[in-house]
């Protein structure tokens, strides 16, 4: 994640440098062109070279991801690159951006360069930073430039990083602090019955820390697993094992887990342990955030080389504004409630990592008070589905379940992994 942020930063820096240089050079070149055109003895060839230079710089401005709008000294627009073109004559949120660009350019011409953030609801929700600078060559104002930069992704990553550190400290500190306090109380408490109760509480808190550490280890091992095992796994076996794992929670909340939608013949290539952990986490959440006595449904389907495992509940749902953040480590929608359920805040992060490890993805749809649907989409892998008649060699390889994946599968996963890390 920090790599992406750093990359974004580098892109921004490069862009700024390019932009600054482009501005300077285009100004120089433009004044050069004017001078040449004005002089009656202008050499046609060098003028042509200059205009070719200007054209090149305009193409460069065209290529950068930020929006750039340039106006002359009278405030007439003389250049607008592709990224800024969408704002011209626009409606809705973009109409407000266009207006802000105009305001910025005129204030820059008046000698007041501006920088302003625009928080737009959209959709899509965006955070734009508008900067305007006056272009003068020391003697006269030659125009102004406004730059529109979309910093939504950068800000999101900053928030993720900031929250992660704050949240992990909090998650570790709470039970450890409680342990300390409980131990102190026990030391000072003569009554055996009270001591007993306190000791039970201590056990509970110790369990919580242990579970948190287990989950963290689980997550880091999944993250670190460069060469995940890719063996043929039956989807229904994964689901059954995951259901067995969450049975105690489901029974205590009288929740019926319906697995009739899981077809018996679907298989995929992957790491069985990880897949069970992912489906188990989805089921655990589904049970925890459903009302007593409600039901959770699991289904699977195969479509064009992808297996989709869907876990559907009728629970409290996830607020719209939290939907995209629920897969972050330790992110909690409602702190009080989720800690009460005994979760560690890592469940969905594990699910997402398992999905990524399998070159798949996890999607969520949710409505508050309606329920949530989590879909784990995983490629079936180059190996084939055993229910279909297969040519002998491949069938032999999959049936024996050799530790070495078939040669066909290895390069394809290898290249995608390299692309991902690159």
């Amino acid at each position: 994640m920090s790599g992406v942020a750093a990359a974004a930063l580098v892109v921004a820096l490069v862009a700024v440098v390019v932009l600054a240089r482009a501005n300077r050079e285009s100004r120089v070149l433009r004044s050069e062109v004017h001078r040449l055109r004005a002089s009656s003895t202008a050499d046609a060839a060098s003028a042509a070279a200059c205009s070719a230079g200007v054209a090149r710089l305009e193409r460069a401005l065209e290529a950068i991801p930020q929006g750039v709008v340039v106006c002359d000294a009278d405030g007439n627009e003389v250049f607008r690159n592709g990224a800024a073109a969408a704002f011209a004559g626009a409606r809705h949120a973009d109409a407000l951006v266009e207006r802000a660009i105009g305001d910025h350019l005129s204030s820059a011409l008046a000698g007041v360069p501006q920088r302003r953030e625009l928080d737009l609801f959209g959709p899509p929700r965006r955070l734009l930073v508008l900067t305007s600078v006056c272009l003068d060559d020391g003697t006269a104002v030659g125009g102004a430039v406004a730059v529109i930069d979309d910093v939504s992704e950068r800000r999101r990553l900053e928030a993720v990083r900031r929250d992660f550190v704050a949240n992990i400290s909090h998650e570790l500190k709470t039970p450890v602090g409680a342990l300390g306090l409980l131990a102190e109380t026990i030391a000072a408490e003569p009554d055996g019955a009270v001591n007993n109760r306190l000791a039970q509480r201590m056990t509970g808190e110790a369990f919580r820390v242990a579970r948190l550490i287990d989950d963290l280890l689980d997550l880091s091992s999944i993250e670190a697993e460069e060469t995940a095992v890719h063996e043929p796994v039956a989807v229904h076996a994964v689901v059954t094992e995951a259901v067995n794992r969450v049975r105690p929670i489901a029974e205590s909340r009288k929740i019926d887990i319906d697995v009739s939608g899981v077809a018996r013949r679907h298989t995929l290539r992957g790491d069985r342990r990880q897949l069970v952990s992912a489906v188990g986490n989805l089921l655990e959440n589904a049970c925890k955030y459903s009302d007593l006595g409600s039901s959770v449904e699991v289904s699977s389907k195969v479509q064009a080389g992808w297996v989709e495992i869907t876990v559907f509940d009728h629970g409290i749902g996830i607020p719209e504004s939290d939907l995209e953040r629920v897969f972050e480590r330790f992110y909690r929608v409602d702190r009080a409630r989720s800690r009460g359920t005994g979760g560690t805040g890592l469940g969905l992060a594990i699910v997402r990592h398992v999905a990524t490890n399998h070159q798949g993805e996890v999607q969520v749809r949710s409505g508050e008070g309606v329920g949530s649907t989590f879909t784990l989409r995983l490629p079936t892998g180059t190996g084939a589905i055993p229910s279909q008649p297969l040519p002998p060699p491949v069938a032999g390889a999959t049936a024996v379940g050799s530790p070495e994946p078939p040669v066909l599968a290895a390069p394809s996963t290898g290249t995608t992994r390299e692309e991902k890390t690159a």
Partner: protein, 258 residues
Amino acid sequence: MEDIRKSFHHDLDLIRDDIVRLASMVTEALGKATIALLDGDLQTANEIIQGDDVLDTLSLDIEERCYQLLALQQPMATDLRALVAALRMVAEIERSGDLVSNIMKAARRMYGAELDPKVRGLITRLGQEVHRLFRLSIDAYVDRNDGLAAALDDMDDTVDALHADYIQSIFESHETSAMQLQTAVQLALVGRYYERIADHGVNIAERVRYMVTGWLPEHTGAARLAAQNARSEMLSVAVEVAQGGEEAADGTADGRGA
């Protein structure tokens, strides 16, 4: 003369751009308002309430310019309809902006209240649906799309149905859990505000239809009344004719008898 007309059309374009901008401010505020309401985000609530002054200023400015153009240019046909529609639309948009502020004021009043997921879910959907409808009404305006404008009336039925569900869920929530009466009342008002914003969206769409085709929904009612009047008039004429005929028949009969 040519120049005057050119600048007149330029002025008309500027008015259209400003109406689009005015509406954008409202749609933006509306989208943010729903999230602020659910998150109990007082800062955004205050920003939106304060932002209403900007809306008022711009709407006054647009209105003023419309009057000037009407007085100085004496436009006709399409131009006249565009200006008259603009005048009416500014009022609708400005009022919608006020309603968004009202939602935020309600959010301030019920700050800290716990809402159950069903109510929250319905607020989200109501907010999304109204936001979409309002946005589409402006799309219809910019694209001069009378078909889209006509379709918005059906979308409003969805909003009304959602609103009814929402009110029901407030009752349920109030009965089953510990939702305070104050909160319930504020929530009911919020629902009403959303529903009214959707109505304003439909009104905007009607003005768009008027601008493009010259048709107004009131025309249907007026036509119905006219038809009714014509019918009763015809009926009375028919009665008269019939009576006259009878008299005439009597007369002939008398004549024959005589």
